[in-house]
């Protein structure tokens, strides 16, 4: 009767006695991966990321204790997912809050893959809807993954440690017929530092909340740098040190030369995701640092 080999002998024959080396290398790599590049996991400072997703918007805000808020997901080209995974450690497969500013495909298209692959705590919207196939798919995925949805309006806040995300627009119950005018406008604050996320709201809407901002260190420029957004009154009120334009290849002429001029006149240093890629902005020792994420 044939003598049965011990299981380790079978493994040894299959892998040539180098299993110890494999496990050692694997263990070392695992440890390296855990402690390797992970801006959010190690970082305790107030940091936001402006993801390079092409012609669309997507930003990530680090919250207290390593939690993450994702504002919009860009167009459905897979880039929001890819860029998000660059800034998260490999083991973090959750996004705590997703904020969908308004239901245009260049803002929610990329969220579908994110919702499928990450565990998402809650989705915050303005309550506005769209009637396209892709929006229905987004809703279907949310239902399938049992993700709750909540609509917020001006005055509502999300607090996480010393970081506050405030909704500046739209007011409750006030929705116009134009989707861009109903978009969520958010202000992220921590330790006196502020970042303003303008989504796609036009200048006439900006004027309605400009006075409440009271200065912002960073502005995510409205509507990919369109000439109808980031008006003079808002820029005068906020006086940003850094202006980030999320833009890609497009046939609309974004960012408009007039907008770039206004930003320069306001004294802001301009960054663009089409040229600079995904950007991180962090406050360290009282200084504002902008860095590329590769």
């Amino acid at each position: 009767m044939e003598e049965k080999k011990h299981f380790l002998e079978v493994l040894n024959d299959a892998y040539g006695g180098r299993k110890l080396m494999f496990f050692a290398v694997g263990g070392a790599l695992l440890l390296f991966s855990i402690f390797s590049v992970s801006a959010i996991a190690k970082d305790d400072s107030f940091t936001q990321y402006f993801l390079s997703v092409g012609q669309g918007d997507s930003e990530a805000v680090r919250l207290h204790g390593g939690a993450v808020a994702l504002i919009d997901g860009g167009p459905p080209n897979g880039r929001a997912l890819r860029e998000l995974e660059k800034i998260l450690p490999f083991y973090k497969r959750s996004v705590d809050v997703v904020l969908l500013t308004h239901p245009e495909e260049d803002h929610f298209g990329g969220l579908i893959e994110v919702l499928k692959r990450f565990n998402v705590g809650i989705v915050v919207t303005s309550g506005d809807v769209n009637e396209t196939e892709s929006f229905y798919e987004l809703k279907r995925v949310m239902e399938e993954r049992k993700i709750k949805e909540i609509a917020l309006s001006a005055g509502d806040k999300i607090r996480s440690g010393d970081i506050t995300l405030s909704v500046l627009w739209p007011p409750e119950g006030e929705h116009s017929g134009k989707r861009n005018e109903n978009a969520l406008v958010l202000l992220a604050e921590a330790g006196g530092k502020k970042t303003l996320f303008l989504s796609d709201v036009p200048e006439n809407i900006e004027e309605k909340f400009a006075g409440e901002v009271g200065g912002a260190d960073i502005v995510k420029v409205g509507h990919h740098g369109s000439r109808t957004s980031s008006g003079e009154s808002l820029l005068f009120a906020t006086q940003p040190a850094v202006a980030v334009i999320e833009v890609g290849e497009n046939r609309y002429g974004h960012p408009a030369p007039e907008t770039l001029q206004r930003l320069e006149y306001a004294g802001a240093q301009i960054f663009r995701t089409d040229r600079d890629g995904t950007l991180g902005v962090r406050f360290e020792s009282g200084q504002l640092k902008v860095f590329r994420v590769k």
Binding site: Y15, N77, K116
Partner: protein, 499 residues
């Protein structure tokens, strides 16, 4: 001619007839002339009978007739199949709405690729690139509104033709008319989708895509950059679900079951596991072929009947070509897979024999005797890689323009890691389907290997050097394979098997 030799050469010449008719709109004269030419070639290479006497003149004549008839039969078979599967009434270049059932649906990062079998009054299949929404699944009835185009003449047209696809549409308006009813194949795809979903939720996108490629042969989630990196490093085959991949699964399954069970029972368990794997990948023709070949060759190796492996390979090729004769000339995956498999079966043992008596520089001198298993896995990976690349070289140059000499190094490194990665991938999928809460623990074991493989591929693609860009031509390729036949396929060593 002994029966097993007759079967083997008969199959080869039948397939040759199919191949010739695939390219030449055809005359029997061309086929007969090719048969006579090949008779001369075969006469030169044909092995002598075991009694060390040559064939009698009349027997040789009958062999020639037999083989030439099979060439003609092969040609006619192709012609017969071609005439039955021609497209009907496809309105090229006109805006139209065409309805049909989805027979293949692939969801990529920013588009969907679907193949639709058109319904009356049209006949034939249409390949369409559509936007990510509405989501279209296997079995759905869809209506596509747009312009039908003829595929551009060349390799892409032939690639589509092998699947009976005669028209393409680029971003038509797609509407799901009816969602598909339950089918067995549809349910298999659902399980495959669930497994992919497990990987995508546990691993980052790049590693999830690689794991799906290794275990399910699905490359839909690969980015364009990573696909190019794999081409530059010659590692595309690891996700092709070729005979090699399935051999890995077969040998691992046999090793595992052999520990617990008797040999015969272990083989049956391994067989059913492989069948489950085939079903999981949607029972694609390439996977079925690879599974049958790999399992039977492993079985024959265990039984010491490796000499029959040539007939096994021939029979499998014959079965695939009888099902769809276009795969022989137009399915790159079929060609590369078979060639690589032939290389592994016939050339790799010769290379391993040569390496047996040598220690490789990276393996310490005190690590056991030369040729012992401690060195075996690296030497085997090297032998498999070199033999597969030797066999596929002319085709790689033909289809991909260049082959990088430097691709041997990443190939050896990655190929050595693939078996364990695949095993852990299947384990992750199995645990995740049954107990998702603990699946991440298993996944963490495979992540370092996945990360290492992607790093190797990306690193070596950046430093790929010594591209070979040689236009061998048909004559050059024939001479190349004639040389390989002489060096590796004909018997000159009692320890190695041959045709």
């Amino acid at each position: 001619m002994p029966p097993h030799v007759a079967f083997f050469w008969g199959t080869v010449f039948f397939l040759l007839g199919v191949l010739l008719k695939s390219f030449f709109s055809g005359t029997v004269v061309i086929l007969a002339a090719a048969g006579i030419f090949l008779f001369l070639l075969v006469r030169y290479f044909f092995p002598r009978a075991s009694n060390n006497t040559t064939f009698q003149h009349s027997a040789e004549c009958w062999n020639v007739v037999f083989l030439t008839v099979l060439i003609v039969l092969g040609g006619f078979y192709y012609h017969f199949y071609d005439s039955l599967s021609c497209p009907k009434a496809i309105p090229y270049g006109i805006e139209t709405t065409i309805q049909g059932k989805v027979v293949q649906a692939e969801s990529r990062l920013s588009v969907q690729m679907i193949t639709m079998k058109a319904t009356e009054p049209f006949a034939g299949k249409v390949r369409a690139t559509i936007s990510p929404n509405p989501v279209v699944r296997y079995g759905d009835d869809v209506a596509l509104s747009g312009k039908l185009e003829r595929p551009e003449a060349g390799s892409y047209e032939r690639y589509l033709k092998k699947d009976n696809i005669f028209a393409i549409m680029s971003f038509p308006d797609a509407k799901v008319v009816n969602t598909g009813k339950w089918t067995f194949r549809g349910s298999l795809y659902s399980v495959s989708d669930r497994v992919q979903g497990v990987f995508s939720r546990i691993f980052p996108a790049r590693e999830a895509a690689l794991m799906s490629g290794l275990t399910l042969g699905d490359t839909s989630q690969f980015t364009k950059e990573f696909k190019e990196a794999m081409q530059r490093t010659g590692t595309t085959h690891i996700v092709a679900l070729s005979g090699y991949n399935v051999m890995v699964i077969v040998s691992a399954a046999l090793a595992l079951f052999s520990y617990f069970l008797r040999r015969r029972a272990a083989r049956w368990c391994a067989f059913f596991l492989i069948m489950f794997f085939v079903l999981l990948t949607g029972a694609a023709a390439s996977v079925v072929r690879a599974a049958i070949m790999a399992f039977l060759v492993m079985y024959l190796t265990a039984e010491g009947r490796m000499r029959a492996s040539g007939n096994i390979v021939a029979a499998t090729a014959l079965a695939m070509v009888l099902w769809n004769p276009r795969v022989l000339a137009f399915d790159v995956g079929f060609q590369l897979s078979f060639l690589a498999f032939l290389g592994i079966v016939y050339i790799a043992p010769r290379i391993q024999e040569k390496l047996k008596r040598r220690d490789l520089p990276i393996i310490p001198a005190h690590a056991g005797k030369a040729g012992e298993p401690c060195a075996g896995s690296v030497k085997q990976a090297f032998a498999y890689t070199v033999s597969a690349q030797l066999m596929t070289l002319p085709f790689l140059v033909l289809y991909f323009d260049r082959v990088f000499v430097s691709s041997v190094i990443p190939n050896v490194l990655v190929v050595a890691l693939v078996p364990l990665t695949m095993a852990l991938g299947f384990l992750t999928a199995g645990v995740a389907l049954l107990a998702p809460q603990i699946s991440f623990l298993i996944a963490y074991l495979s992540f370092p290997f996945l990360r290492l493989e992607t790093l190797i591929i990306e690193f070596f693609s950046r430093i790929a050097f010594f591209p070979i860009s040689v236009n061998m031509g048909i004559i050059g390729a024939i001479l190349y394979y004639a040389l390989l036949l002489k060096l590796f396929f004909l018997p000159n060593n009692k320890n190695t098997h041959s045709i």
